[in-house]
C-alpha cells in the first residue's frame, strides 16, 4: 500500500468527520431551550456515522463514479467517500430546493445518479436494489460493481438473506458490507445475533466472506480490493463485515444510557493519524492542514446550503410521477 493511498484514506475520513461535526453543531444549535426534534435549521432524525469512517473510506477508495453504492439510514460517510458533492448533500439535509432531492428526501433518502448512490431508511432494504444495479451493469456489459451496506442489526432481516442467496446464485457483481458497530439502536449484537460472524453466513450462501476485527481502514481497504476486483472480474459476490464503532448515539438526542462501552471506544481517525505519523507519512502540520482544508470545504457547502431557497410549498406535488 503506497503512501499516497494511505494519505488519501486519512483525508477521506477527516472530510467525513468534518462534515458531521458541522452537522452536529448546526443540528443542536437551535433546538434549545426545550429540545425539539422537529425544530431548527436541520429538523428530523439525524444518524451520524462518526467512528465508522474507516469502512467507507477503505471500500470507496476502489470505486469510481460508475460504481453503485446503496447505503443505510446512516449514510454520510459512504456518500462523502464515494464522492458526493458536499453542497448538494448539505442543501438536502437543510431541506433546500438546491439539494439532491430538492428537499423531498432528507438525510436518510439521498439519491445521486451521477455517482449511482442511494440510501434507504429501512433496515437491510438497501441490499435488494443493489442486486438490480449489479444485474443492470452485467447486462449492459459494463465493468461496474454495486456495493451494498448494512449494519449488523440488518443481518437478521429477511432482505439480507434473500439478497445473499440471489447474488450468489446469479453471480452478480456485488460487494456486501456489514458495519458491525455492536449496537442495533440499544440492542447489543450479543442480544440479537445467534452467531459471532456474518462472514460465516456469507460462506453458507456461497459467497466469499471476510470479517475484519479491528476497524482498521487499511484492513478494510485490503479486503475490499480483493472483493471488488473479484466482482469486476465476474467471479461473483463477496461480503465483508467490519467490527467498527459508533462513537455517538443511534440518532442525535439518544442519551445512550444503555451503553456500557463508552469508556473503551477508540476514535479511528486520531489513531490512524498517529500510525501515519510514526510511519513518517504525516506530520502535525500536515494533520492541521488536512483538517483546515476539510473544514473549508465543509464551510463552503454549508454556506451554499444555508443561502439556498426552501422549496415552494406550491410545488409539493411535483415529482410524484415522472
Amino acid at each position: 500500500m503506497d503512501n499516497l493511498t494511505r494519505l488519501g484514506l486519512y483525508k477521506t475520513m477527516v472530510l467525513s468527520r468534518s462534515f458531521e461535526e458541522a452537522i452536529l453543531r448546526d443540528y443542536h444549535a437551535d433546538k434549545k431551550p426545550a429540545w425539539d426534534i422537529g425544530a431548527g435549521l436541520i429538523p428530523g432524525e439525524m444518524h451520524l456515522s462518526a467512528g465508522q469512517e474507516p469502512v467507507a473510506a477503505g471500500v470507496c477508495a476502489h470505486l469510481t463514479a460508475d460504481d453503485a453504492v446503496t447505503a443505510t439510514h446512516r449514510p454520510h460517510h459512504f456518500a462523502i467517500a464515494h464522492g458526493m458533492d458536499l453542497k448538494l448533500l448539505a442543501a438536502e439535509i437543510f431541506g433546500r430546493e438546491t439539494g439532491l432531492g430538492k428537499g423531498r428526501g432528507g438525510h436518510m433518502h439521498l439519491f445521486d445518479p451521477s455517482i449511482h448512490f442511494s440510501c434507504s431508511g429501512i433496515i437491510a432494504e438497501g441490499y435488494p436494489p443493489a442486486l438490480g444495479q449489479a444485474f443492470a451493469f452485467q447486462h449492459q456489459g459494463k465493468n461496474s460493481v454495486a456495493v451494498a451496506v448494512t449494519g449488523e442489526g440488518a443481518a437478521n432481516q429477511g432482505a439480507f438473506h434473500e439478497s445473499l442467496n440471489l447474488a450468489a446464485l446469479w453471480k452478480l457483481p456485488v460487494v456486501f458490507i456489514v458495519e458491525d458497530n455492536d449496537w442495533a439502536i440499544s440492542v447489543s449484537r450479543d442480544a440479537s445475533t445467534s452467531i459471532r460472524s456474518n462472514a460465516v453466513r456469507a460462506t453458507s450462501y456461497g459467497l466469499r466472506g471476510t470479517r475484519i476485527q479491528d476497524n482498521s481502514v487499511e484492513g478494510v481497504w485490503d479486503a475490499a480490493k480483493t472483493a471488488i476486483e473479484r466482482a469486476r472480474a465476474g467471479e461473483g459476490p463477496s461480503l465483508i463485515e467490519v467490527q467498527t464503532v459508533r462513537l455517538w448515539g443511534h440518532f442525535e438526542g439518544d442519551a445512550q444510557a444503555y451503553r456500557n462501552d463508552l469508556d473503551t471506544l477508540i476514535d479511528p481517525i486520531p489513531a490512524y493519524a498517529n500510525q501515519l505519523e510514526s510511519d513518517g507519512i504525516l506530520t502535525p502540520e500536515l494533520v492541521k492542514g488536512i483538517a483546515e482544508d476539510a473544514k473549508s470545504r465543509v464551510d463552503d457547502a454549508f454556506e451554499y446550503a444555508k443561502s439556498s431557497p426552501f422549496p415552494s410549498a406550491a410545488e409539493v406535488g411535483n415529482y410524484v410521477f415522472a
Partner: protein
C-alpha cells in the same frame, strides 16, 4: 390519442385470450427494446402460473426471462435497482396476496425514489400480478387489493378487463417512465382450467398499440344509471346490464381500466347524465375505490345525484373458501342486478 392503427387490416378479425394478448404485448416490446426483461417466480419454463409469460423463455432466452428464487423482497428490489440503471423490468408477483412479504420494496422504494430524488431518478418498471377470486382459493390467494396499491403515492395502477386493453395497457405500462402496477384478474385471462367469461377472448390487433393509462372506457351507454367498475366485474356488469335492459333499466357501464391516474371526468360525465351511481368493486368495501368514487361525486356536486350512491363490494370479510360463502361476497351478476334495482327503486 389514437388507440389503434386503424389502417391495419388485422384490427378486428384475430381473436386472442387476455393472457395471449398480454404476452404478445410483452413480446413485441422485448423485441423493440433490449432493456426490457422479465423476472419472477415460474415465469420461465412454466410460462407464468396464469400464462402471463407463455413462450417468452423460448423466444428470448434465459438472460431476459428469469425464474427467481421465492425471494420476493430480493427480486422486487432487484427490479427497482435495474430500472434505476436504465433497464425496463417486468417483474411478476405471482399473486397480489403475496405483497406482504415484499411491500417495503414496493411502497418505500419503487414508489418513492422518484419523489425523494426530486425527479432525478426514474423507476420505469411494470409490476404485474394476478388478482381476484371465484375459484375457492381461499383468503390468501383470492384478493384484489388494488385499492391498497392505488392508495400509496408513486405507483400507477392499471387493471385491464379484456384482451384488447390487456395488450395496449401492457405496452403503455412498459413504455411509461414510472412504476406501473398491472393487475390481471385470473378470471379474465381465458385460461382453459378455470371458468371464464366469453369476453376473455376478443379481437386484438397484431401491431403494437397503446391504451392510454388513466383513461376509462364507456363499455355500454345507457341513460338510467351509471355502473362504474373494473376487471372481471366489468363482464358481470355487462351481463347484468343486458338483464336489466329487459326489465326496462338502461345502464351505462364504465370500465375504469386505470385506478391511478383515476379518470374522474369519465365518471362525472356519466353521472351528470344518468344521475345515479352504482360502484361494483371486487376489492374490500371500506376505505377503498368505492368510497373514493362516491367522494369524487360528492366533492364535485352532490346535486348530480337523483339517488344516493350505492356500493357493491366485498363486505370487509376475508375471502372465504367454501363456494357458498365465497359467492355470497363476490359481486356476481345476480347481486349487481339486485343492487341496480335498489338504486332505481
Amino acid at each position: 390519442m389514437v388507440l389503434i392503427d386503424t389502417s391495419s387490416a388485422s384490427v378486428s378479425t384475430r381473436r386472442l385470450t387476455t393472457a395471449k394478448a398480454m404476452v404478445e404485448g410483452i413480446s413485441q416490446e422485448m423485441e423493440r427494446d433490449p432493456s426490457v426483461f422479465v423476472l419472477g417466480e415460474d415465469v420461465g419454463a412454466y410460462g407464468g402460473i396464469f400464462s402471463s409469460t407463455t413462450g417468452l423463455l423460448e423466444r428470448f432466452g434465459p438472460h431476459r426471462v428469469m425464474d427467481t428464487p421465492i425471494s420476493e423482497t430480493a427480486f422486487m428490489g432487484l427490479a427497482t435497482g435495474a430500472a434505476v440503471e436504465g433497464m425496463r423490468p417486468i417483474v411478476e408477483l405471482m399473486f397480489v396476496d403475496f405483497f406482504g412479504v415484499c411491500m417495503d420494496q414496493i411502497y418505500n422504494h419503487m414508489a418513492k425514489i422518484h419523489y425523494e430524488s426530486g425527479g432525478n431518478v426514474k423507476v420505469p418498471l411494470v409490476l404485474m400480478t394476478a388478482v381476484g377470486g371465484g375459484y375457492s382459493d381461499g383468503a390468501q390467494h383470492s384478493q384484489c387489493l388494488w385499492g391498497t396499491f392505488a392508495h400509496m403515492p408513486g405507483l400507477k395502477v392499471v387493471v385491464p378487463s379484456n384482451p384488447f386493453d390487456a395488450k395496449g395497457l401492457m405496452i403503455s405500462a412498459i413504455r411509461d417512465d414510472n412504476p406501473v402496477v398491472y393487475m390481471f384478474h385470473k378470471g379474465v385471462m381465458g385460461l382453459p382450467w378455470m371458468a371464464k367469461n366469453p369476453r376473455s377472448l376478443g379481437p386484438v390487433p397484431e401491431k403494437p398499440y397503446e391504451v392510454p393509462i388513466g383513461k376509462a372506457s364507456v363499455v355500454r351507454t345507457g341513460k338510467d344509471m351509471t355502473i362504474v367498475t373494473l376487471s372481471l366485474s366489468v363482464h358481470h356488469a355487462l351481463d347484468a346490464a343486458d338483464d336489466l335492459a329487459q326489465q326496462g333499466i338502461d345502464c351505462e357501464v364504465i370500465d375504469l381500466r386505470s385506478l391511478v391516474p383515476l379518470d374522474r371526468e369519465a365518471v362525472l360525465e356519466s353521472v351528470s347524465k344518468t344521475g345515479r351511481l352504482l360502484v361494483v368493486d371486487e376489492d374490500y368495501q371500506s376505505f377503498g375505490l368505492s368510497g373514493e368514487l362516491a367522494a369524487v361525486v360528492a366533492e364535485t356536486d352532490p346535486r348530480l345525484l337523483k339517488a344516493p350512491v350505492s356500493r357493491l363490494a366485498i363486505p370487509d370479510v376475508p375471502i372465504p373458501y367454501s363456494r357458498t360463502l365465497e359467492y355470497a361476497v363476490l359481486p356476481t351478476m345476480e347481486r349487481i342486478v339486485s343492487a341496480a334495482k335498489r338504486v332505481m327503486a
